[in-house]
């Protein structure tokens, strides 16, 4: 198989996961598209390093590195906070449901917006472990490989992220 065939067969199927991660880490659709495109080119260039590995965590690792490089480049605010309350409030405020929605749909929509806003308000290092764990269903070892940190760090970040989310979302679960 040529490199291109390897790329199309093994890497391209994970483009959805790659885009979802990038979109969650970056602020706009365009930034996410740029990041995935850049990461794909890099993945193609280094396709030989894939060897027998699982292509999904391998690609996600390249994507998250590209995203963090982009975040650093456009860094405009300190990233020391684990959870950005202002961001959460702003995202919730933006998400005004329309009156025309039927009741059930309205409730579902509200839940979704609230959860999205809470995840979005996490700092990028916490957000990425949540996305990798809950959306991509990677295990601790795979996440550790993607993020390039020890497994213990993954676990403590996940615990911290969950603590923050739990605090913000505890009211929703009552309605479930």
């Amino acid at each position: 198989m040529s490199n291109r065939q390897v790329f199309e067969a093994l890497v391209l199927p994970h483009l959805g996961a790659a885009y979802n991660l990038a979109r969650w880490l970056l602020r706009s659709e365009q930034a996410a598209e740029d990041a995935v495109q850049e990461a794909s080119m890099r993945a193609f260039r280094y396709i030989e390093t894939l060897r027998g590995d699982d292509a999904r965590p391998w690609l996600l690792g390249i994507v998250r590195n590209t995203c963090f490089t982009m975040l650093e480049r456009t860094r405009s605010q300190p990233q020391s906070v684990d959870f950005d309350e202002a961001e959460f409030e702003a995202a919730l405020g933006e998400a005004q449901p329309r009156d025309t929605d039927p009741e059930m749909q309205l409730q579902k929509r509200r839940t979704r917006l609230q959860i999205d806003a809470a995840i979005r308000a996490l700092s990028p290092p916490l957000r990425e472990v949540i996305v990798l764990r809950e959306f991509e269903d990677l295990d601790y070892a795979q996440i550790a490989k993607v993020v390039a940190v020890p497994i213990g760090t993954v676990m403590s970040r996940l615990a911290r992220a969950r603590g923050k989310l739990r605090a913000m979302l505890s009211s929703i679960s009552l309605g479930e």
Binding site: L15, V36, R45, M70, I115, I119, R133, R162, L169, E176
Partner: protein, 224 residues
Amino acid sequence: MSLDDQDLSSLIRRNATRHAAPDTLRAAIRTQIALADAGRTEPTTPPKAARRAWFTLPWPTASVSFALGLACALFVLPLVQRLDLNGPLDAELVADHVRALQLGPLIEVVSTDRHTVKPWFQGRLDYAPPVFDLAAQGFPLMGGRIEHLRGNAIAALAYARNRHVVEVFVWPSAAMSVPLRSQHKGFNVLHWADGSMQYWAVSDLERTEMERFAQLWREQAAAQ
């Protein structure tokens, strides 16, 4: 009432938004890879096979390639004739932009008044670049300077956008073109031409902001 990890997990999995990759992105990446692959294997591929490969390309690839070719013919060729350019210009303009930001001078004539900046170019260039005041639209003029590009003196105008700088390189061209975007080292480069001048805007601003800038510029130019 508090959620345990399991509840939280299923709450997220069931409700949070999963962003779907746009089809255009998939097509763009496949095109990019196809081009990169073609570039790499070209010397060893017999021409006949290459030609056959071209016809079997999926249509987005073929149309993108065609658009690229058209873009070259319309915009790059007139440029090559004028300045004897033989390589990609984006890289050089980005390098000029970065050097100006790092070492300076970014601005040789410091003024927010276009009636100060425009006359400053008199006697320094053999053409008169248009200078617009876009402060009301959020892009205040910072000033201008002379840049040397492949042996030619060209005008460079600097505009501010929050804490970003947009630099516009201007020199004459008979070509007409809508804004074309490219990216180099994380900088966005937007290029367009209006039949009398060509413009290359370089900045670390986001694409949409750059496009807005170009749009404002073109509106101002059209109103003159």
